[in-house]
Point group: C2
Chain length 335, copies 2
């Protein structure tokens, strides 16, 4: 069977099962969560988290993205995974695959983007590797630390918990439509800027992830960069629960709803690209989340409720519409 | 200027200078050494080391190499860098770039090679990333720990120190010549096997690196996978010293010398691919190295002496032949 036929999720399963897992010091291993987590004797009460995320010109860098923004993005993607564990990122390495006829200035601009995003979040770029590649490729790896008792996994959601999300969804998708010239909506200049920035210079929710982990009320968390729908399905698999989502509560920017109508919700669900955090929290502690919202300046929306696994993943409403497993996949069709 | 014109070393310099370095907690940053090294409060007396190393089909995987061996190699390359700090590797992640028409079985075999090499050295494969790529690409990242006082940098060599190397040099080069059918020498079957294994299933010197760090007599260390000549030049730059090398002491296997004559030494110097450690040690402590040799079962050879920087890097002998900066470079010509 070709990898294209197998599809990404199947392929990842086939790879991950080759690796020893759940042996000390590994708390979370390959394919388990947004990051791997290791507990070591030399780490007094803390865990090491580690993640790797690659980006390729043809699949990750839309036309019109600058080299600076490419560099920024590969850091943001990795920091978002670290944030999803409630951890503080510390160090970053990057392996660059560069076409031999590329300009040195392009590589320098990518490096500037990498450094700027890293330093904005107090992360040190400590190493890398360069090699020849037909296609421009950036593979980032980030490590960080989290207190053992504050670590938030994907697997902790309980029936009855509130389903929440940070910030807004759909901006990155709108940004892409704008960049491609597909939308000629009556959008305000500032809404356009916000959308483009979400796509081209995303801000990982590092301080929000840490603040949420501090509260002690968050039961599970992950990032939604592959789309809300795909993330809900992954959270469902990890926690063994279903989800009821309130469509009107999904934080799609008002202007996006106005400009695109029904399609806006679809983009927010199935497109991805927004570096927000999806999490579940104990129902009785929503006041605490208000505090985090105030502290970080980032909107937090309750978008649904955790249900039993056999209830599935669906939109609340007369039609009880199923939310499908669609989103950003690298190989093959959706299973 | 195109990256091809700039050359790899120039390019790395241009990238590395963009990143903040020598700020706490960074002890060694991008471009400084075989690994980055970070000191954290939460690590009681230990440092975190981190390295990333990528391999691409066209430049790193010779024809005839199996997928298992490709997976093995990307782990070995990263572990060798960790070993060069005297550190113990702990966890490994891999980002795979896979052509969409590749067979799933190929990816599974790569994963098996990765796991087998990692588990042989007590390392856990904890995560990864898969993506589409025209060319098969494997980017590995490894983290490990070392006691702060046992960390060995490239910068510690002193005039008068002995220059040493583990194992043998030239085997990987011979293996490549055999694979290409360029050599039809009267080699014993076992010598052929050793050479092919050095190329296709290299053994990083993890226990040797740790044992050498334990001795307290090693002043600087690095791996020689890019060739002895290039490594001597890098050690020279880091420590600000020159080297006198004894050509007859370079541990080229006897059969290789017999089969290739003069060319054997050239391969050992300029080809690379051998995962051995180059290090300097205090002159008065060579007995200690004998003990390491016995303990690890790995040959250690004294191949020269550390000289003043202005004396250069040369072969001892009547002609005092200069050792040139040539070796495995990814872009452009040798400066």
């Amino acid at each position: 069977m070709k990898v294209e036929e197998a599809g990404e999720l199947e392929l990842i399963k086939k790879i991950a099962c080759k690796f020893r897992r759940h042996y000390p010091p590994v708390i979370l291993g390959a394919g388990d969560d947004d990051c791997a987590v290791l507990e070591c004797k030399c780490l007094t009460g803390k865990c090491l988290v580690m993640t790797t995320d690659g980006m390729r010109a043809s699949t990750h860098f839309p036309k019109g993205m600058t080299p600076f923004q490419m560099g920024w993005s590969v850091v943001a993607a990795n920091l978002s995974d670290v944030a999803a564990m409630g951890a503080r990122p510390l160090a970053f390495t990057v392996a660059m695959g560069i076409p031999p006829d590329a300009e040195v200035s392009l590589v320098e601009e990518i490096a500037e983007g990498i450094e700027r995003c890293a330093s904005q979040f107090d992360v040190f770029v400590v190493g890398g590797d360069v090699g020849r590649s037909d296609e421009l490729t950036l593979v980032g790896t980030c490590v960080g630390f989290v207190e053992r008792r504050k670590l938030i996994k994907r697997s902790g959601a309980n029936v009855g918990d509130a389903v929440c999300v940070t910030g807004h969804l759909g901006n990155a998708a709108l940004g892409l439509e704008l960049l491609r010239g597909n939308v000629k909506p009556r959008l305000s200049r500032s809404a356009e800027e916000v959308a483009k920035k979400a796509l081209l210079k995303p801000m990982p929710r590092v301080k929000e992830g840490i603040a949420l982990a501090e509260t002690g009320v968050v039961t599970s968390m992950m990032d939604v960069s592959d789309g809300l729908a795909k993330s809900l399905h992954e959270l469902s698999m990890s926690s063994g629960v279903g989800f009821e989502i309130y469509p009107e509560k999904i934080p799609v920017p008002k202007e996006l709803r106005n400009a695109l109508g029904e399609k806006a919700l679809e983009l927010a669900l199935y497109y991805g690209g927004d570096y927000e955090l999806l999490f579940t929290a104990r129902r009785d502690s929503l006041d605490v989340l208000k505090k985090v919202e105030k502290e970080t300046g980032t909107k937090i929306s309750v978008i649904g409720e955790v249900k039993r696994l056999d209830e599935g993943i669906y939109m609340k409403g007369d039609k009880r519409e199923k939310i499908e497993l669609k989103g950003y996949l690298h190989f093959g069709a959706t299973p």
